[in-house]
Symmetry: C2
Subunit: 240 residues, 2 copies
DNA sequence: GTCAATCTGTCTGCTGGCGCACATACGGCC
DNA sequence: GGCCGTATGTGCGCCAGCAGACAGATTGAC
């Protein structure tokens, strides 16, 4: 973690707020732990809060009738969980699960909506982030259609890595398989390939990235598209 | 077509506007033809207008570096093309192509934004539609991951059908393959299967649906999820 | 009516990922 | 230090969809 003291500005959207807005909004936020596996909201169930992750990562998953699942998007300190609160739907047909433990700031739905209708900088940030989230979803669809498991594994790794401030990730192959919507054995093979190529080391749920550029070269264009679009929509300069 | 005279209310979002708002907005709209194959906007290029299809269908496609493509979502008279104009990004990394010829109303970007910031019924409709579009994208990702070409073909057919007021679709297998991001031969086989099952007849670019419930039974859950979510977010009662 | 372009059907490998069944290896706990 | 649960590696047959080549069929233009 870059800072030990928790602060809302560890989330990039909150960090981008002008001082006047921050002064109004920050006191309304509640700092909460995000334990691994915690379900923030369930398909079709109304959510009460919107979450601004700081050190945690959250996966948006769709779980099918037969129990199989697929990740739709991943959210970390660059974004928010719960866009449907201000988009007007209140619920979505997906599930949000903490994929990497940490913390987040949460904001109650009604307070968020009041702020949203002020049509100030916060609204602008929320909508822009939502657009970047759409790009991520779209690219996930494309990637699922056209790219190999090896490429998708690298893309997933990079997306997760970008949302942490470390080059290590705690995650079993079983869980990665759930996210990607593939078999655990498939992940074993992909991870083995990438490890043999010297890009990562994998040890019982601990992935350490050795050669990040190597990973970027090995993945498909989807990673770059998503990252570039996020940077374009929400340039992050004023980090804490 | 249910009505011969073109009218903005043939688009479901415009139809849902209260009279006062309609009076203000409708005069700003321009009725335009949407010829087959017309590109409304290209990846990364700023769009000038937002489109409200009435009798046309538009596909949102992502085109990869190697030229392969995949459909991300499909938009007809239930929605709009160009959400990034009010979401703030101005562009998206995808392409919008007319998949079924017809007409649409278009609205200039600046005028749209003025209306958006009034935070009235139009804003509410636009945001809710955007959320339903996100659901469609997410479900496309899931479907691409888990379901067979047969199922996806049926899903695609039903989604397109819902956006027309006819049980016939003009579309070659080659084009469908582009949309789904699969080989043309794959579509031939899927279409053959569905035809042999007596659900459609296919003749040189003309698909006629015979047994709609049969199609619904043959497709995956993805179709129902998308449709249900659209109905929930934007119940369409006051049709023209 | 003829011809050419376009659209559709089919065949032959081939490969990536699935499903299932095991064989390990690590690592914390008593 | 041994044990057990959890995590990982690997083998096999199988199948959906790919790649490419080609044969028929329909349509529209002349």
């Amino acid at each position: 973690m870059p800072t030990l003291d928790p602060h809302p500005r560890q989330n990039h959207l909150l960090a981008a707020l002008p001082a006047a807005d921050a002064e109004r909004i920050f006191p309304q936020l509640e700092y909460v732990p995000m334990p691994l596996g915690h379900v923030l909201y369930e398909s079709g169930i109304q959510m009460r809060h919107i979450y601004f992750p700081t050190t945690s990562i959250v996966s948006l998953l769709y779980v099918m009738e037969d129990g199989a699942s697929a990740e739709i998007a991943v959210v970390g300190n660059e974004g928010i969980v719960g866009v449907s609160l201000f988009m007007g739907g209140e619920t979505t047909p997906s599930r949000a699960v903490v994929q990497s433990a940490g913390h987040a700031y949460r904001w109650s739905g009604p307070a968020l909506k009041d702020e949203f209708y002020l049509a100030g900088p916060m609204q602008r940030l929320l909508l822009r982030y939502t657009q970047s989230l759409m790009t991520q979803m779209a690219q996930t669809a494309v990637c699922n259609r056209h790219h190999t498991l090896d490429q998708q594994f690298c893309r997933w790794l990079l997306l997760s890595l970008d949302r942490l401030s470390s080059n290590e990730l705690v995650m079993t192959q079983e869980l990665i398989a759930n996210m990607l919507g593939v078999r655990r054995e498939g992940v074993t093979e992909a991870a083995g390939n990438v490890q043999r190529a010297g890009l990562i080391t994998y040890q019982r749920g601990h992935i350490t990235v050795i050669d990040r550029p190597g990973l970027e070269a090995r993945t498909c264009e989807c990673y770059a598209v998503v990252k570039k679009e996020l940077d374009r929509l929400l340039p992050y300069s004023n980090a804490l």
